[in-house]
Amino acid sequence: MVYDAIIIGAGLSGLAGGIRLALFDKKVLIVEKHTVVGGLNSFYTRKSRTFDVGLHAMTNYSPAGQRRSPLGKLLKQLRFRHEEFRLCQQETSEIRFPEKSLHFNNDFEYLKQEIAEQFPDQIDGFLKLLEKIENYDELSLVNNAPVSAKDVMSEYLSDPLLIDMLFCPLAYYGSAREQDMDFYQFVIMFKSVFVEGFSKPEGGMNYILNLMVEKYRRLGGEMQMGNGVKSIRTQNGKAVGLVLDDDSELQAKTILSSAGYLETLRLCDPAPAELKEVKAGQMTFMESIFVLDQLPKDLGYDQSIVFFSLNSKFQYRSPKIPIDPDSGVLCCPNNFQYPSPLPEGILRLTHQANYDYWNELPRKDYIAAKKEQRAQALEKLFKIFPNFSESVVFLDSFTPKTIEKYTGHLNGAVYGAPEKSKNGQTPYENLFICGTDQGFLGIIGATLSGISMANLHILKN
């Protein structure tokens, strides 16, 4: 049997693409290497607690009834009602640097006012930058020459501190490029984070993923879990078949891969010449989760998310040391507007990390290294935040190695490679990519990517 489409990966982009195709009666199969769905945004259970892996917050919050916002498009294209996602909005978040701090929430006017107060000589420039952002077509699927976001920001803003403070959250939540972003990516992230804002689904990622899997299966979509794609057989510029880990073979008219661009080319057999030209991403992270015996608010943590830097000059790159404790993201899941409070206090702390260090570490030293790095990170953190060590009842950390192992993204690069393939094309006429390396990042971005690639390359034909 020949499938209309086979999708590689049951992460958010793969599931979304799958739902679109199944909605219109395409014969579609998702093959996933792991036994759990979700990829970069999955969940795991330790000592009867379920933790989200990738979820700090969902960006792009928009209220029910909006059909053109990214969230609105996602919901209507997958035919979910807004209520079904059970989104709970953030309270307030903060960008904290040594000299200044800026607060924001899901009402963009608040951030504007903060900037006017904290950076009175920059507000005119900021409003002009905003105009440029609002009029930009960031969702174009044409691959244009990259424009540096830092350069554009410098045209409008003269204070390097404000530039870095605005760049910091957007980089952490969506830059595959070190020290900079492509301007179109900056615009996507600016709107996602500042203009639209954060929410979390009641029930966590687990809940959203289940909704998607259920819908996909109900529509007749097929899934193979725990059986990855070993190779993609190619001939005369076409993908002609897939070989799975158990050596079974499958055929499809079109293949949509969410494994990453380079990762997908690497599966192709024989290896394509383009393989040499593609660079893998470097930006990866270590994250620690702390379960507390008190509410974070009672310990002095009253923000939803804090993006912090201990230095005025913010660095965003693969650090030379195992992790860079000088900046990070602190997420407090309790501080979202849930209808009923979470059962326990939780804090999550994310830092930029060096993949090579974690990759080369001998197995026997790995656990100790995690402990040591976490301790160093906390020591730095407690210089500007209240000490919560006494309240920790459970903790766990994951590293770039964990991310690579569970998602297959080379170097554990959460946002994939710096060069994106916006139209999803590969050297093969019926093989396309979706998700991270197509250029729409994050939870909402990856989901929209699966939708738009399925629309463009399969449904429109």
């Binding site: 219109f24 009834g65 059909r67 209507k76 294209q77 009602r81 629309n455 429109k460």
Partner: protein, 87 residues
Amino acid sequence: MTKEQVRQAILDILTEIAPDEDIHSISDDGNLRDQIDLDSMDFLDIVMELRKRFNIEVPEKDYEFLATMSSCVNYLFPLLGDRKLAS
């Protein structure tokens, strides 16, 4: 199908695609895009639903005929006129 049934078939599709919109207030000659906030993604869905439900293909060059309710009905009636409604 009668013209009225073709119109109803289009309304059914719109209800599926835009469940929150007030479908019954749609006027025959106003632009659909403006009346119920449809974008290009929605038009793709209308075309896909037509293919799924009635097995008819609307090529991209004909999308302009889907602009208003009456132009939709006029365009689809010759294609659907000889169909029987599934009971």
